[in-house]
């Protein structure tokens, strides 16, 4: 399939983003159209509260999380030189799940469900779990001579399995209420986003996300191979440490705030790469925008499809993303080529 100019995609995404946000504000168990808010009816007050206190922070959070997950996927695929890599490879997601389950099952008793800075204790447990898992994976793969990507991949699988076992154990000893909490958390959940929590996310994630574009050139060179990148003047080992630490922080934070949302990190970069090519200078910003749009829309539909109850957003990202992804793959295949 032929590429489109990166600028075309940027224009399209920039135009889609406000539309997606609008969609996020309108759709829900109850459809609230913008011009309804202009009249001064009594029901309008409650609608306004719904928009201001529930839908707006939630939609913005969805955008932020979508951008974070997508860019995490871009970085992992570039670093591992594998288009099927995603942040879960370095243990982020499974570590976060184990951390969250640990807090839900064992911590709830003496910690309660208190909040710190608008962030629940469960989220803190998840972040610590993600950070710990990534750190162990990294330590296992680090050698005096550098970090082996292949070893890291294997270590990631092993640590993910270990975290998965812990997670199963906590699930096993959990009672019914905890069980539901765990499974909801694992499916990904954007409900209950408050302005404080959004503020926290904006400060942490926007700061971190702004660092990613400076890795464009190193990652481009790294796609050629590690020794090739070194001969192009890239300090490969330093880039690896920095990228992994950044991704762990960003994705760890995202997962801690909203649970594991599948598919966005894997598929968004892939779709964008099919459209504009693998150059990270355009791939990174375009994937952030695309991830934001995708997750905002997915979240809006998750509230609307089964109203008044809510579909887990991870289910919707898969339902939206998978067919689109498959159709792109199919087009690529029928377009021919040696691969």
């Amino acid at each position: 399939m032929t590429r489109i100019a990166p600028r075309t995609l940027f224009i399209f995404l920039m135009a889609s983003l406000p539309l997606a946000v609008l969609c996020g504000l309108i759709l829900g168990p109850e459809i609230i159209l913008p011009f309804d808010l202009l009249s001064t009816d009594n029901t309008i007050v409650s609608d306004r509260i719904i928009i201001e206190q529930l839908r707006l922070p939630r939609t913005l959070m969805a955008g932020l999380i979508g951008a974070s997950l997508a860019v995490g996927g871009v970085m992992m695929q570039g670093l591992f030189r594998n288009p099927l890599a995603d942040p879960s490879l370095i243990g982020v997601s499974s570590g976060a799940s184990a951390g969250a389950s640990f807090v839900i099952v064992l911590g709830a008793g003496w910690l309660g469900s208190s909040d710190l800075l608008g962030v629940s204790v469960i989220a803190i447990g998840a972040f610590l779990g993600a950070a710990l898992a990534t750190y162990i994976v990294y330590r296992l793969a680090a050698r005096a001579t550098g970090t082996s990507v292949a070893t890291m991949l294997l270590a990631g699988i092993a640590i993910s399995a270990l975290a998965g076992a812990l997670n199963s154990f906590f699930t096993f000893i959990a009672d019914n209420h905890m069980l539901r909490q765990i499974s909801l958390w694992q499916m990904g959940n954007l409900s209950g986003v408050t302005w404080e929590r959004l503020g926290f996310a904006v400060v942490v994630l926007c700061g971190l996300l702004s660092i990613f574009p400076r890795f464009s050139q190193p990652l481009n060179a790294l796609l050629l191979g590690e020794s090739e990148a070194r001969h192009l003047g890239i300090n490969v080992d330093r880039v690896k440490i920095q990228v992994i630490a950044l991704v762990a922080m960003v994705v760890g934070t995202a997962v801690a705030l909203t649970g594991t949302i599948a598919f966005v990190g894997l598929v968004t970069p892939h779709i964008v790469r099919l459209l504009i090519g693998p150059d990270h200078r355009t791939l990174i910003p375009a994937s952030m925008l695309a991830g934001a749009v995708l997750l905002i829309l997915a979240d809006a539909f998750s509230r609307y499809l089964l109203a008044p109850s809510e579909l887990p957003v991870g289910v919707v990202t898969a339902l939206l993303g998978a067919p689109f992804f498959l159709s792109l793959l199919y087009q690529q295949r029928t377009a021919g080529g040696r691969r």
Partner: protein, 260 residues
């Protein structure tokens, strides 16, 4: 006295007690093409990796312009030394011209200059017509020519007070006869501009045509080195390759050609 661009002083490399390369010394001056010849497993690739800094010698030293190679900061070295590995694992669909542009990563000469260099490099290895095609869809020989264009683009111009060096591991292994000659000509042209070139290859006749200095290696050690006439003798080659060679005269040029 001017120090050679690349100098290996009794370099050795051991892995787990086994010597892959032992006691190899040679020097390469600017404008010279040095060719490593030898059977499979003789240590050619290892020698090239030692020469470009991918591996660190366990004994001896590798000098670039008279200084320890690993004392040079990566970013500075990349401006003057470009390396083509034996095989490449790029499996992302960069366009050919984007791959060549990656060769300009170490330089900050600006997009306009880089674009001009990329155009010329693409023409030099005859891949201009493939510039808008994804690298992953090219044939093996085409991929090799694109990678060669990248390596050429990296050391396209010489900065004042610097010496360029290209290190190529079997740059013509996947090429047809026409393109072998094309690359040989391009390398000669590069050397005439003052670039030092070190490469490994298998084709004795291309080597004879191209080399200023031949280094014959066998089982990790230096067998002999010298000019093509000194080294490419049927008796010497037989010792290394265990095959009978005959030197015959080319019907037109009258030059010596090796057959077996």
């Amino acid at each position: 006295m001017v120090s050679p661009v690349l100098q290996l002083n009794s370099v050795g490399y051991r892995v787990g007690g086994k010597a892959i390369v032992a006691n190899v010394s040679y020097a390469l001056n600017s404008g010279e093409i040095g060719i490593l010849l030898g059977p499979n497993g003789a240590g050619k690739s290892t020698l090239l990796k030692l020469a470009c800094g991918d591996l660190r010698p366990t004994s001896g030293e590798v000098l670039y312009l008279g200084e320890q190679l690993d004392h040079y900061p990566l970013a500075d070295k990349a401006k003057n030394v470009s390396v083509l590995p034996q095989s490449s694992s790029l499996n992302f669909p960069f366009l050919s011209e984007e791959v060549v542009m990656l060769g300009r990563t170490p330089h900050s000469t600006g997009l306009k200059v880089d674009q001009g260099i990329v155009d010329q490099a693409l023409a030099l290895t005859d891949v201009t017509h493939l510039r808008k095609q994804p690298y992953t869809q090219l044939s093996g020989g085409e991929q090799q020519r694109v990678q060669l264009a990248r390596v050429f683009a990296q050391v396209w111009s010489m900065e004042a007070g610097q010496e360029n060096l290209m290190i190529l591991d079997e740059p013509t292994s996947a090429l047809d006869f026409y393109h072998q000659q094309l690359i040989a000509k391009a390398l000669r042209q590069k050397a005439d501009e003052g670039c030092a070139v070190l490469l490994a290859m298998h084709d004795l006749n291309v080597a004879a045509q191209l080399a200023d200095k031949v280094i014959l290696v066998s089982s990790g050690g230096m067998h002999c080195q010298g000019t093509t006439d000194e080294v490419l003798q049927p008796e010497i080659l037989k010792e290394v390759f265990s095959l009978d060679f005959y030197a015959v005269e080319h019907p037109e040029s009258g030059k010596k050609v090796l057959v077996y």
